[in-house]
Symmetry: C2
């Protein structure tokens, strides 16, 4: 195909996209130029993703051709955070009588949908992850997607074989998908929470734990109790929802989850975002004041905060001092070795510096250890130990 032919196709494509999005053509061209609208690669090249929120289209929204038109899989709506439960819940959900409270799990956000006959797993940013896609096909009841081709599952991939956020706190052997939301293609409209639970149960899907529907009036105290209990078992927190899913949900997390985030951030202090660190610290401040903690509880919180920061920092600095490279060791479990090599290519495309060990077979599957290198923190630390200035 010659260059002119290519351009003609592109122009015709832009024309149709312009009609579908209701943006003028110059704007579409501009989005492509800036890579705000970008293609996935390889065999998923036909799946476009929004790399930025554009006019209320969420970041991570995916779109592709469907017949002569386009189909959209809307991104994850950003869930805002209540820094304090009172009066935030009352103000935000003003007029509701009850709130649906569900567990916020610590895993990796993924959307699963049928796209042109295939079941694909889409990351928060709109990439098609080959590993997550294989796991979704292995783990999920695929009949659901034939019965409801217009619905998209929004869930959390959780467990030790999750190479993004591996957590051993959930009593899961490998990885599982916990569904927390179902939305329609194109509109992004969500199902009410009860309807979603009923449908998921019927097909045997795992779902995030529900703490039931709680009266708005008593929600701040009741949710504080739930959070304290979740904290004890190192779980993350809750998402608080309008049962009809009309008001946008809010999240609220445990102190242990803040500290766990800090432990990870300070292990790789030169990679982690400064705002990420600060926000978790400030949450600790609001929680201790909101909960009116006494001096004993406060001292404990100070110690936990100090240790969550200095312990991982010390560990990393010591490792580098002892000439050990810093990395994060994660694990994947695949049915097909091709999935592992696709995943390796995929991480490379995303700029992740990862070393895949030799696979070893476990039953019908293979376990593979992956070392993700943290070059920035490693190099900075090494330079300082060698006498470089800050």
């Amino acid at each position: 195909m010659n260059r002119e032919g290519n351009e003609e196709i592109a122009l015709e494509f832009v024309d149709r996209l312009s009609d579908s999005l209701g943006f003028d053509k110059e704007r579409i061209q501009h989005l492509f130029e800036k890579n705000y609208l970008a293609r996935n690669w390889g065999k998923y090249e036909h799946l476009l993703r929004f790399d930025k929120e554009i006019s209320h289209i969420e970041h991570g929204t995916v779109l592709y051709e469907k017949g002569s038109s386009f189909e959209f899989i809307m991104g994850f709506p950003k869930i805002r955070r209540a820094m304090v439960l009172y009066p935030t819940l009352k103000k935000h959900f003003n007029g509701l009588s009850k709130l649906a409270v569900e567990e916020k799990m610590n895993g990796y956000n993924v959307r699963v949908a049928q796209i042109n006959g295939e079941i694909l797993a889409i990351t928060r940013s709109g990439y098609i992850c080959p590993y997550t896609t294989e796991r979704a096909n292995v783990k999920l009841n695929l009949k659901f997607f034939d019965d409801f081709p217009k619905l998209v599952l929004y869930g959390e991939m959780v467990g030790p074989d999750n190479p993004y956020v591996p957590k051993a706190i959930y009593d899961i052997d490998s990885v599982e998908f916990y569904i927390f939301d179902i939305r329609e293609k194109n509109t992004g409209n969500p199902l009410p929470t009860a309807k979603r639970r009923e449908l998921m149960e019927k097909y045997g899907f795992l779902q995030v734990k529900s703490f039931g529907e709680i009266p708005l009036k008593t929600a701040p105290e009741e949710i504080a109790d739930i959070i304290r209990k979740l904290g004890i078992i190192e779980h993350e927190g809750v998402v608080i929802k309008d049962p009809e899913m009309i008001f946008p949900p809010l999240k609220y997390t445990s102190s242990q989850s803040n500290c766990s985030d800090l432990r990870h951030a300070f292990r790789f202090y030169n990679e982690a975002g400064r705002d990420y660190m600060l926000s978790r610290i400030v949450r600790e401040g609001f929680q201790t004041v909101e909960w009116n903690e006494d001096e004993t509880e406060f001292k404990k919180r100070c110690m936990q905060l100090g240790e969550s920061i200095l312990n991982p920092l010390r560990e990393s600095l010591r490792s580098v001092k002892n000439s050990q490279r810093l990395y994060e060791e994660v694990r994947i479990r695949v049915r097909n070795l091709k999935t592992a090599s696709d995943f390796e290519d995929y991480l490379k495309r995303l700029g992740v510096d990862a070393v895949f060990e030799e696979p070893y077979s476990v039953g019908a599957e293979y376990l593979i250890t992956v070392r993700k290198l943290n070059k920035s923190t490693n190099d900075k630390t090494q330079a300082i130990w060698e006498g470089e200035l800050w």
Copy 2:
């Protein structure tokens, strides 16, 4: 004067400045347009300051007309930080046999010089502070500037009547100027440390404490001891210098100083820089590993870090919850009430939101309490207590 006349003067001025700096005229114009080269205001309008480092001219450098040419007062050279003492000192000062070690005091950097017959105090950024100028004229032996009109004193304004960094740790009643550097006008060349000490002593100036000259070989251990002792009395740290002032100095600080910085930063968490916070935390990590601390010392450091963060944060959040506005209370002591009103105008020009209380006289002088308001942290915190999301 008509507009054309003004422009003619400006062009002639740019011509001469261009000759003096060796920059072409377009570049000078550009520096003015970008405000990288800016005028002080009011009666100091003739003093220009570099608001940015330009071609090795330090940020804060001041220049003014002197006869048909220009005279320069070079900015404070940025002193880089040793994150660890070994091997940094050995590498940085490679070839020297001895290092001059001096106390780094916690105050406000100021240059004092005679400019067209007046003794003026210039801040780090190149502003003429009316308060610091009055204090310098009251406190310093002005004969020095008549004897050495070409020398500039670089020092620290320290003590409780310092409205920028008030510290009560130095056993100073009001404010004093501690000299740490003397440099020539125009070249910025520094005097060797011994020569500077001798000269300052002769004129009765206060100087930063000297820990003597220490062999490079044993410097890491000896300086670590000094730092531990300074830490116990809550002092900041040291500046480590080539006695001949040919190699640039390095600084190194105590854990207590890091924690003190953090206490201030987290009290006004929405104003303080994220990088400022992180760097102080990371220093704690390097120091505990470099000093090979045991678990008891480490736990103590964790607790100190946690408390240095959460205590001031809790205090601020509580204050706002109790409807108290957040501010920092500082104090000035003036001989002339006009200085106070000039200083009030000056802070306003700099965008500092400050309330000056009524003066009360103490001997021949006046004490005035100044409340510097921390609008950003105040408003953010108040919004959260009222139910706003993060």
